[in-house]
């Protein structure tokens, strides 16, 4: 079924078709690349032991807070929100850890996810939180940590790497999804034990060995 008239087509159209093909291939290639990146990012890029994504914000007291400037200290990074019910009991857990460990070089930081300053401050006051809290500035920290909701917590060692957290069911994660609570996959005792092990490793002078696990 060959169209004879088509074979007499003028030559310049061939060039146009080639250009169109090239354009289509470039567009499709770009799309596939974008989709592949989306798949990679979506599958959760936080790996235990990998460098922790950076966090930059300003606390509600006006102090700039930069994760990279906290090198040399162990950081417990907690994402919370004033509207989050499960964050209420977790706040006391974190506050207790802050009180007990702040002199040993551990910093507890709370980032208020999708929250307003008055509400976050009120929440902190109501739950006795005295550790530094600040907004999830620009949404960047939460996105860097692949936040799906609150509360979520990560522990960063003195070298700025994500500490592997061992859950009750045997899994080892870079970030805890859900509250640090009794009966949960990661209890307050688990957190304290992880911190103790980290600090002990630091004291033993072995900067390469991560704690936990």
């Amino acid at each position: 079924m060959i169209d004879r008239a088509a074979l007499a087509a003028p030559p310049p159209r061939r060039a146009f078709e080639r250009a169109a093909l090239a354009a289509v291939l470039v567009a499709v290639g770009g799309l596939l690349y974008a989709l592949s990146q989306g798949v990679r990012v979506g599958s959760g890029a936080l790996v235990p032991g990998a460098p922790a994504p950076s966090v930059q914000t300003v606390t509600y007291d006006g102090q700039p807070l930069d994760l990279s400037e906290l090198r040399g200290r162990v950081v417990v990074l907690n994402f919370f929100a004033s509207w989050c019910i499960e964050c209420v009991p977790e706040a006391s857990v974190l506050e207790a850890v802050w009180r007990d460990y702040r002199d040993r070089g551990v910093v507890v930081v709370g980032l208020a996810y999708t929250d307003t300053e008055p509400a976050a401050r009120a929440f902190a006051k109501a739950n006795g939180m005295t550790f530094p809290i600040g907004p999830d500035l620009g949404g960047r920290p939460s996105r860097a940590y692949g936040l799906k909701g609150v509360p979520e917590t990560a522990v960063i060692d003195t070298g700025g790497r994500l500490v592997p957290l061992a859950l009750a069911d045997g899994r080892v994660v870079a970030k805890l999804v859900g509250p640090i609570a009794e009966g949960g996959p990661f209890t307050p005792e688990d957190l304290r034990r992880t911190l103790d092990q980290l600090l002990a490793a630091e004291a033993a002078g072995d900067p390469e060995r991560d704690g936990g696990g």
Partner: protein, 155 residues
């Protein structure tokens, strides 16, 4: 679409706990129409489908209060919007900003329609119409025969 459902589910319980307290703490707001206008330009950061104006979540009510507080202090509408973008990221805007890379969001479809229209016009006209006269005419009575065939099949 189920984003909306999640947002419908979450507040019902939360509101019971936080609703009365939060409402009691709501500061006096400036012109409600202006607040609604600003809220309409912003997105609820949690659900992907509600504007800040329509979102029933308590946190969105708090954000609306925040808008009101800022406007009561004299901030202009655009300044409040910019402040929200700084706080929550450009994703809080309802539509892509018309600056920078996001401008591509607006331009690309317009360019595509223009290109497609132009291209179609050019290629369609490019064909010489003289070729149509080269085709042999259908034999006489052809149309009638086809009609008769069709009608015969009708029975």
């Amino acid at each position: 679409m189920l984003a909306r459902s999640v947002c419908a589910l979450v507040p019902a319980a939360l509101v019971l706990v936080l609703g009365p307290a939060a409402r009691a703490q709501e500061p006096p707001t400036a012109d409600p129409a202006a607040v609604a206008r600003v809220a309409n330009r912003l997105n609820c950061p949690i659900c992907q489908g509600y504007t800040l104006r329509d979102c029933p979540l308590e946190v969105c009510a708090q954000m609306r209060a925040e808008i009101g507080r800022r406007m009561a202090e004299g901030e202009a509408e655009d300044a409040v919007v910019a402040a929200f973008v700084d706080l929550y990221g450009p994703a809080v805007l309802n539509e892509p900003p018309q600056r920078g890379f996001a401008l591509l969001a607006w331009l690309a479809p317009i360019a595509v329609v223009a290109l497609a229209g132009f291209g179609a016009l050019l290629r369609a006209r490019a064909r010489p119409t003289a070729q149509t006269t080269l085709q042999p005419a259908p034999p006489p009575g052809y149309a009638e025969r086809v009609e008769a065939m069709a009608r015969a099949d009708d029975r």
